[in-house]
């Protein structure tokens, strides 16, 4: 950033430059107009942006980027703002580039099983448009009704069907967009690979820090003819965890495999009345999809494995209504938690599946230590854990304890061989945890990758990669409190 004597002057300069490339109504800068853009779904963090722009053509996006690049203004691309880690948090001297107007489905090609969609198209809208051809877009983050494909690309979003169908990265063929200076760029192709280095894995999940996405070609897959779900109860979390391992050891890859602990089950039952087993210490939802023959065979094998693994109750969905009822609680875990607590913080770490019971026991102890309740849902198939820490933001001390609780969960996940974020992204929320998971040279390598795309660090600056200074401060804080979690990790 160049020096700014006054925010107002800077704003006037930027607005004047943008007015040469955008119609007036596409530029918002009055506080009351930009207020809705001050945060994403991580509402605890807020910043008023300098300017918000809403271009509706690729030429306007290119010109906006070029203008901002000339003035060295930070740019933060934004989709629906449903992100949970503050990835779309504005920069106080930066421009929010909203892609909301890029909401057209350009083409659906049923023979190629692809859809070309603009970045602002909602995840679910793709599957709705593809349904006419018996196809759908597999990744299904729980915010799929609202979140956009551009945001999914930025976050490499997952969902409950990742184990069998993969993440966003595995379902995207081509990303079209612009470099920070407005140069058009395409990553991937309509074929299954493209020449040169495979840049798609960098771009997908880059949290808007490498390029701005305007159009995406996604893979569509045939809609399974049938899906059935088993709801299994267990007396203790250990046996539920062992049951997950047994299913996989038997060579079965379920379409969905989800676990809820007892506290979560009670919480969602009150919310959806799905007749969950409230006596169970843990509930597993295990789904099979495919042709009727396939599903029949697989459900039989799943039932057998789950029974052997000690399930105390097994129920197989009879029809689609019942299957959706089984899922209703899991899909409403977050809003249901909102019903039993004024606030909750959703964590998103991944651990090796076999460490689940250990992790849940650690969380139990943390509830005592931080004097806060926590309910747990777990994408058991892929090890992605979403503990929801319940707190009351009006009690300043609770917010603080909640943050410590969260950091403790993330660091425990790293210690158990996992990662600080499975699918919600680092954004601003997990910057400190990145200091724990990555060494200084690894973080320096991330920054060097960033510079290969964006040498001036104008795209979404301050996200994902913590500064050396920040990590040093975070390290000190931990030593100071006498709870340095990993003595073996390099710190400085």
């Amino acid at each position: 950033m160049i020096a700014n004597p006054s925010r107002e002057e800077r704003q006037a300069d930027v607005v004047a430059a943008l007015r040469t490339v955008l119609p007036g109504e596409a530029i918002l800068f009055r506080r009351e107009d930009t207020a809705p853009y001050e945060c994403d779904a991580l509402t605890a963090y807020r910043t008023a942006p300098l300017v918000v722009v809403m271009p509706d053509t690729e030429a306007q996006v290119a010109a906006t980027l070029a203008a901002c690049h000339r003035l060295q203004v930070p740019i933060i691309a934004r989709g629906a703002g449903t992100g949970l880690s503050g990835g779309a948090l504005p920069h106080s001297l930066g421009v929010i580039l909203s892609l909301a107007k890029f909401n057209h489905i350009v083409n659906i090609d049923p023979a190629a099983c692809t859809a070309v969609v603009q970045a602002g198209v909602r995840n679910l809208a793709i599957s709705e448009a593809a349904a006419a051809y018996g196809l759908y877009y597999a990744p299904d983050p729980s915010s799929q009704i609202a979140c956009t494909i551009g945001g999914n690309v930025a976050e490499n979003s997952g969902g409950v069907h990742c184990l069998k169908y993969g993440l966003t990265l595995h379902n995207v063929l081509r990303v079209r967009g612009f470099m920070v200076d407005g140069t058009p760029v395409e990553f991937g192709s309509e074929a299954l690979d493209a020449p040169g280095l495979d840049l798609m894995p960098l771009v997908v999940g880059s949290e808007g820090m490498l390029a701005v996405t305007t159009e995406v070609t996604v893979k569509l897959i045939p809609k399974p003819l049938l899906a059935r779900c088993i709801m299994a109860s267990f007396d203790d979390v250990e046996s539920a965890g062992a049951a997950v391992a047994s299913v996989i050891a038997r060579g079965i890859i379920p379409a969905g495999l989800e676990l809820m602990d007892q506290a979560m089950t009670a919480c969602v039952e009150a919310f959806v009345h799905a007749d969950y087993d409230l006596n169970a210490a843990a509930i597993l939802l295990c789904e099979s999809d495919g042709t009727p023959e396939e599903v029949h065979e697989e459900i039989g094998r799943m039932e057998e494995v789950l029974a052997q693994a000690g399930a105390t109750r097994l129920e197989v969905s009879r029809d689609e209504t019942q299957r959706l009822r089984f899922w209703s609680g899991r899909k409403n875990a977050f809003p249901a938690s909102g019903g039993i607590s004024p606030d909750y913080m959703c964590m998103d770490s991944t651990i090796p599946r076999k460490r689940l019971a250990e992790m849940l026991r650690a969380i139990e102890q943390m509830q005592v230590k931080y004097k806060l309740r926590c309910v747990n849902v777990f994408h058991a198939g892929d090890g992605n854990l979403h503990p929801l820490i319940l707190f009351d933001a009006d009690q300043p001390d609770e917010m603080h304890r909640c943050e410590l609780f969260g950091a403790d969960i993330l660091e425990t996940s790293v210690r158990l061989g996992g990662t600080v974020t499975g699918e919600h992204g680092v954004g601003v929320e997990k910057l400190n945890s990145m200091c724990v998971q990555f060494s200084p040279s690894e973080r320096a390598q991330f920054l060097a990758v960033k510079h290969a795309f964006d040498p001036l660090e104008l795209l979404n600056p301050g996200k994902v990669i913590p500064s050396l200074h920040r990590c040093a401060e975070y390290g000190k804080m931990h030593v100071h409190r006498g709870m340095l979690p990993f003595a073996e990790l390099p710190r400085f």
Binding site: V185, A191, P201, G290, P352, F446
Partner: protein
């Protein structure tokens, strides 16, 4: 995870430090089974095959971690004992290929169109960069979005960014049942049928078309495979014959892929065209072998490099010159200026002294 102090790694680090200070290029070498692929290797050979062994294997986690020099055959044998496999079927052009070479080359076999590529199955990786730093990206879990996905960038990078030391891969169970059907169809009919099947919920795992015959491989639950066989018709191959067919496709041991000295001398080349599966039949002189339901089309042709590249680009894809006497037209299709700028930036980011496999992917990289 592998540590700096490991004696084999320590000696490799020393070589990298020395090469870096002298700016002397290194040719990273594992089994040497893919030296023919891509641009010609150059630089002092740096043998990394000593960095061998399976570090951990957790069948119920569907994850295996192996050092780069581990023979691919050893890894596959270990997975087989647990009824699991590398579902993307990496080609074994000769015996002795390594896990690191598999990742660096990023090549996938017949099942790729249905199950994904090598890159898709990389979960994490430990890399030695040009600063002789040991860096670990990703991990051993499927869902992981902490930081840029550098481990998957390394897949298919032909060693130009660094030395793969160890890699964690997602593995999958071997399908409970399988069958291969064959159909006598010309190219147009075969492609049309493959495109139609692609949008139907069928347990298809691979296809190949050559010389008027389509082979279709099915895999999955027993009931699903037998129902699909009944629905699709065709002639069912005997299991041994099927196995032989697909390993020939996977490892390029079938006659089609074996170029003779005489053929090479008269300018015959083996081209790999990666195209949208729905691309119309390609017109080039020579013979063709189609995989990936139309998305991968191999050509044995004497056509000029520029002509093959033009045809591939017009069809929405790109062409790689896999085997040929004259690679002066480039082994890999060129990328756009903006992408080349990023390539150079990444080379600078990982290997500023330019010591790792220079020119193996593109000149100047």
């Amino acid at each position: 995870m592998i540590k700096r102090q490991d004696p084999v790694l320590a000696s490799i680090i020393e070589r990298v430090q020395a090469a870096s200070s002298r700016q002397a290029p290194l040719e990273i070498r594992g089994g040497g089974t893919k030296r023919f692929y891509g641009e010609s290797p150059s630089g002092e050979p740096l043998d990394v095959s000593g960095l061998a062994g399976i570090s951990s294997y957790e069948p119920t986690e569907l994850v295996v971690t192996a050092r780069a020099g581990t023979p691919l055959a050893d890894l596959e044998a270990a997975l087989e004992t647990q009824g699991q496999c590398l579902p993307f079927e990496p080609p074994r052009f000769a015996a002795g290929g390594t896990v690191g070479g598999m990742v660096a080359a990023g090549l996938s076999g017949p099942a790729r169109a249905n199950v994904g590529s090598v890159r898709d199955h990389v979960l994490g990786l430990t890399l030695l960069n040009g600063h002789a730093e040991i860096l670990t990206f990703g991990g051993q879990v499927t869902k992981n979005v902490a930081g840029y996905d550098v481990s998957r960038l390394i897949a298919g990078s032909w060693g130009v960014l660094g030395i793969v030391c160890e890699v964690s891969l997602k593995v999958m169970p071997v399908a409970a049942a399988g069958a291969t059907l064959s159909f006598e169809w010309d190219e147009t009919e075969a492609l049309a049928q493959l495109n139609r099947w692609a949008s139907q919920p069928l347990p298809i795992t691979a296809s190949s078309w050559h010389d008027g015959r389509l082979h279709l491989r099915l895999g999955g639950a027993r009931a699903a495979v037998s129902a699909a066989c009944a629905k699709l018709g065709g002639v069912r191959l005997d299991p041994e014959e099927a196995q032989c067919w697909w390993s020939g496709v996977r490892d390029h041991t079938q006659d089609f892929f074996l170029l003779t000295e005489a053929g090479l001398a008269r300018g015959e080349c083996l081209w790999r065209l990666s195209l949208p599966a729905t691309a119309a039949p390609i017109a080039l002189p020579g013979r063709q072998f189609i995989e990936w339901h139309g998305a991968e089309r191999w050509w044995r042709s004497t056509a000029e490099s520029s002509e093959v590249r033009r045809v591939a680009a017009a069809a929405g894809g790109h062409a790689t010159l896999v085997r040929g006497a004259d690679k002066s037209g480039g082994a890999f299709a060129p990328v756009s200026d903006v992408l080349m700028r990023i390539h150079r930036g990444l080379k600078q980011a990982f290997d500023p002294a330019g010591i790792f496999n220079p020119g193996r992917l593109y000149a100047g990289l």
